[in-house]
């Protein structure tokens, strides 16, 4: 899992519970690793491009560093992007996190 993917998963995971957050990250990591290689290559490419863009924004002071809320706002904007692969990237990451977080949460957890 690339650094930006880890950051996206961290931002999308709502629970503060650290073991659950680790489990979600581990699940997403395993799923990305097991994707068809041509899809994985595309996701890696997007992660590098989008991660570089975010890093650039932070370097220019146009986006707060270490602020998951700022990254979430950016992901929301990308999910409505006119560029299909950008929308698909956010939908993929969000789907994996939402599914894992709700399936892996201990019984009875909110």
């Amino acid at each position: 899992m690339l650094w930006f993917e880890r950051e996206v998963v961290g931002a999308l995971t709502e629970s503060p519970d650290q073991p659950l957050r680790s489990s979600v990250e581990s699940f997403v990591d395993g799923t990305l690793r097991d994707m068809p290689e041509h899809l994985r290559a595309g996701v890696v490419g997007e992660s590098v491009l989008l991660g570089t863009y975010v890093a650039g924004l932070r370097a220019l002071g146009r986006m707060a560093a270490d602020d998951p809320a700022a990254l979430l706002d950016r992901l929301d904007a990308w999910e409505a992007s006119r560029i299909g692969v950008v929308r698909s990237y956010v939908r993929l990451m969000r789907s994996l996190v939402v599914l894992a977080e709700n399936e892996l949460a201990p019984e009875g957890a909110a």
């Binding site: 999910e79 409505a80 299909g84």
Partner: protein
């Protein structure tokens, strides 16, 4: 490198492969089944759980068909194939489709009566039954809504066996046909990927494989066979044929049932362990309405699709169930085994008519769920209106666009179509691949078009028919 010799080699152990292995082993043939995935005990993981996804799904979850829009799809990758992970709904091939396809593709001996005879035989070996007693609330909602609107609906039978207490056990291939094949002397080798078929002239003489041992070791395995049946499903059957240099009418014409969903909130709890068995057939054959897996994670996924905050709804998740509208698509796709890639590239093109049909299906599904008593509907459309009343549904017509609809499917067919019309088919009327005397396909790839219903029953009946023809010819 190990070598293995067999009379009949079956590649894949799902609905097509398992039926083939059982039929031919019972007939006294020496049968070897190679399955790429592991052998997972049928009771080892809960149905539709994340554990099941990791253990039994190809790629540990959904993958995607490229296109505009991208369509997510899932496949089983374990002994028993997709029968281990599906809902077990059982529906014979509709008669009008048998008639239509027989004519369009020039398929011999493909009458509704003949296919019903094979379906009878399949059903005699499985347990095909309706739920004893009242249907669960998620399924009853479909029946209630349809009845209120005067729409046709039906409770589908399932491949389930029920005990005296009414507890159902899905009759997957690992519980039925594969044990029957083993009892008749077949050999099943899991964790064994077929890299390519070895051809000589118009014959396939064997297969090159890579077998992974439980301890992690990997060995090359060469299998020599007199006859080969490829049953890897509509994506991996054409991919294997292409990797083996067999490309004529192989991999094009892929069909699926694109599906759009709604998470429906009711004022009462609904069940979450299974899949509703009622289907609304009012708009068949082009739009089918039914219910999906609704474990907590799937409810959350469906709620998240609109992009609206859903924490409040999620707090009430036990009152929420997920439903779908699936279409018979005019569009089609391709499977391409590109050199150097382990996984095939899959594409699918939806037509404008398909999009319109999906929008119509979504609106009808909304009408039905409101009639059934749902109080809140979350469509799988980015930025889609969360509906509370009939007036809200009108906006969905314009919201189901290529950019906003979130689509998926679990039924893929038609990538090596059968029939005597050589311009349109990759195999003859009984699955023999054109140009090869001893190579057959025997799975959902052969079905000429999307059937509009779960294809498992059709796959099993056609596979039984093709085995009969093979045995008669041999």
């Amino acid at each position: 490198m190990a070598d293995l010799v067999t009379d009949v080699l079956v590649v894949g152990s799902g609905a097509g492969g398992a039926v083939t292995a059982a039929a031919l082993a019972r007939a006294g043939r020496t049968v070897t089944v190679l399955e790429e995935g592991p052998w997972v005990d049928a009771d080892a993981v809960p149905p539709f759980s994340l554990e099941e996804m990791v253990a039994k799904y190809r790629h540990k979850g959904p993958t995607a068909a490229f296109g505009n829009p991208v369509i997510a799809y899932t496949e089983g990758r374990c002994v028993g194939g997709s029968t281990e992970i599906n809902s077990g709904l059982y529906h014979r091939l509709p008669h009008h489709l048998a008639d239509e396809w027989r004519s369009a593709y020039a398929i011999d001996e493909f009458t509704p009566e003949a296919l019903d005879g094979y379906a009878d035989r399949v059903e005699g070996q499985l347990s095909v039954a309706r739920v004893p007693g009242a249907p669960p609330p998620s399924s009853a909602a479909l029946e209630r809504g349809a009845t209120k609107l005067g729409w046709r609906n039906v409770e589908f039978a399932r491949v389930f066996a029920y005990d005296a207490q009414g507890r159902g056990t899905k009759q997957t291939m690992s519980r039925t046909m594969l044990p029957a094949a083993l009892a008749a002397g077949a050999t099943i080798i899991p964790d064994c990927r077929v890299l390519g078929l070895i051809t000589r002239g118009d014959r396939v003489v064997g297969a090159r494989c890579r077998r992974t041992h439980p301890g992690g070791g990997v060995e090359r395995l060469n299998v020599r066979a007199d006859h080969v049946f490829v049953c890897g499903g509509a994506v991996h059957t054409p991919a294997l044929l292409q990797r083996s240099g067999i490309r004529r009418n192989v991999g094009n014409g892929l069909k699926m049932h694109p599906t759009i969903k709604i998470a429906a909130r009711f004022p009462h709890p609904v069940d979450h362990d299974g899949v509703p068995m009622h289907r609304v057939t009012e708009f068949s054959p082009f739009v089918a309405i039914g219910g999906s897996a609704s474990r907590k994670g799937y409810v959350a996924l469906a709620l998240a699709d609109t992009g609206e905050p859903y924490a409040e709804a999620m707090a009430d998740w036990e009152n929420i169930s997920v439903y779908y509208a699936a279409i018979r698509s005019e569009g089609s796709g391709r499977v391409l085994a590109a050199r150097g890639l382990r996984s095939p590239v899959v594409t699918y093109s939806l037509t404008e008519g398909d999009l319109s049909r999906l929008a119509r299906g979504l609106v009808h599904l909304g009408e039905l769920l409101l009639a059934a008593g749902a109080t809140e509907l979350h469509p799988s459309v980015a930025g889609g209106t969360v509906a509370h009343r009939l007036d809200d549904l009108g906006s969905w017509w314009d919201q189901v666009t290529r950019a906003r609809a979130n689509l998926m499917t679990v039924h893929l067919t038609s990538s090596v179509r059968m029939g005597e019309n050589r311009d349109r088919t990759g195999a003859d009327s009984f699955g023999r691949v054109w140009g090869y005397s001893n190579l057959r396909v025997n799975d959902g790839s052969l079905i000429p078009d999307a059937p509009g219903v779960n294809p498992q029953a059709a796959i099993m009946a056609i596979a039984t028919r093709n085995c009969d023809q093979f045995l008669a010819e041999a």
